[in-house]
Amino acid sequence: MDVEQCLGSIITIPFGQHKIDALYYFPLTHEGPIEKKLCILRLHGVLGNLLDETEHALPHHLAKEGYSSLTMNTLLANLGLFFGFGIFENAMPQIDAACGFLREVGFKNIVIAGHGLGGCMAIKYASLKNHDSQPSDIQGVIAIATAYSLPETIRRRWDRFGSEPTYDEMVQRSAGKFHPEPGTDPAWDKTVVIKRAHGYTTLPEHTEVYTLKTWGALASPEAEGPKTYLHIGKIQVPILLVHGMHDDIIEPREGEDLGAIASKAGNQDVTQIYLDAPHSFEGKQHELGQTVVNWLCDRF
């Protein structure tokens, strides 16, 4: 039997009446004062298995190179999108709490990273920190396979496959749920199955599930948090954008456009790298890890 010992420890970070689950790795090779070290804060997407194949590869690679990392599940992980509480904007205070945990551990330098949806969250969070009056400990941003605008990406994909319901139908149905009108019941919500959202069949692998509220907060035209292009220009710390050339979800020009916005806004350190990989970077995890490590080594 092939057995793999994974690196790190699963931890819980208190968050109000709730908690944040995360995988924390502090390499034993760490030497010297921790406050001078860097920790990569990675934001999980929807599912949230801290040990799954694609999500665990990067922390493993970082750890081998001596970088600490914290991979966290936000409200959107563990089916949050399906049960109505996975609201994009509400993940931001959770990321704050994770940064607070790292500060308590002793880290003063954090690079925030995400893949896909996690990349959108990373850019949004970094843009908020850049505008705070207090100095931020976010020293860099890594966004992998990140959409120019998640609502636009989803609209394009649904149009392409002929989703049922259509994007416009969902806009109508979710109207007012994301920001409830005065006098309406803010708790009212409904689960919706979107067929042919990912492909031409009605098979489960081509299907998506949301509630009207979580969809409104993530994919509707009024959802501003996941519109990455609105936020990336506010970030002044180094940015690494990595794209897969065979990504069937995010088009290569989306990364180019994001990079252009960041540079045009005055960011002097924007790096764009394209790898011969699909959206998941399956089979290319080593190259992805090395790309990230090289970028970190060159800067921190």
Partner: protein, 303 residues
């Protein structure tokens, strides 16, 4: 809030089930050495249900750490039904037998000879299915918390109670039409929502989401693997059934009815315990829950 911060005693381990599924697991021990002789060390193999997160909530989250404080080691595993397996169509109940096979093999490889399987809710049903079809001498007993007499019957009752949309019968008819004569090998499947399956309103928290294939094998009227009452009579290991006295999902008669089946088959090593001041999750009364489990593990009957 119950705080669980960093536990240095944890080991995060991955291995493959015989059919290739990647099992992720969380081993909590004190002074675990791979080379050490673990023959006499009891270990609890904890089978997760749907959420599948080691830190999600309730028993899956709290029990392993509480057991460790009592000196009892444990390993939790995620099956293919965890992390939305029932939504993707890959979470077929019958196939979880492979994950339990792999986990028992892993522990046996590490030298453990006193393995106790513990399942919570859906996880308990998986263990019953496994134990009725396997006979591993290193597995010394089963601890079944919140075990349904029959998962399909429980769901049918629940859907009728809350007047779900669609109804149980409507789902069955639709599933037959989509999956055809051979549901397990069918190339057709679809995701669907059952509104009001867990409560009177259409709030998402009261909904359940399945694919027809995952529903067929876990909740359908022909989901024989998920009907504990059909399998209990074939289990020869010692069994402890635990139910919270206020469990809203498991009716009071269910544990005793299952115990009667076991006794009738000639297995006298069966105990039923009601945990006071607890609902479906018996870790709502951790002292009583731990007393029962450590009692079973520390002073096992001869199976």
């Amino acid at each position: 809030m119950d705080e669980i911060l960093i536990h240095p005693e944890q080991h995060l381990i991955r291995f493959r089930a015989p059919d290739g599924f990647l099992v992720t697991s969380h081993l909590l021990t004190k002074d675990f050495e791979q080379s050490k002789n673990n023959f006499d060390t009891p270990i609890v193999l904890h089978i997760h249900g749907l959420l599948g997160h080691f830190l999600a909530r309730g028993t899956p989250r709290l029990l392993p750490h509480a057991l460790l404080e009592q000196g009892v080691w444990s390993m939790s595993i995620n099956t293919r039904l965890a992390f939305a397996g029932q939504l993707t169509g890959k979470g077929i109940f019958n196939d979880t037998i492979h994950e339990i096979d792999a986990a028992v093999a892993f522990l046996t490889q590490k030298g453990f000879r006193r393995i106790y399987l513990l399942g919570y809710s859906l996880g308990a049903s998986m263990i019953v299915h496994w134990a009725a079809n396997r006979s591993d001498p290193n597995v010394r007993g089963l601890i079944l918390e919140g075990l349904h007499h029959s998962l399909p019957d429980s769901q049918r009752r629940r859907l009728e109670k809350w007047r779900s949309t669609p109804t149980y019968e409507e789902i069955y008819e639709r599933a037959k039409g989509i999956l055809g004569d051979d549901p397990y090998h069918s190339r057709n499947d679809e995701t669907f929502v059952i509104y009001r399956s867990r409560g009177a309103t259409s709030e998402p928290i009261n909904d359940e989401i399945f694919t027809y294939k995952s529903w067929w094998h876990m909740m359908g009227p022909e989901a024989y693997a998920a009907m504990a009452h059909r399998h209990m009579g074939r289990i020869k290991k010692p069994i402890l059934i635990i139910r919270g006295e206020h469990d809203p999902l498991i009716e009071k008669w269910e544990p005793e009815a299952l115990a009667q089946i076991v006794r009738a088959s000639g297995n006298r090593n069966i105990w039923v315990r009601q945990i006071p001041q607890a609902g479906h999750d018996c870790m709502e009364n951790p002292a009583e829950m731990l007393k029962e489990i450590t009692g079973m593990v520390s002073h096992p009957p001869e199976g």
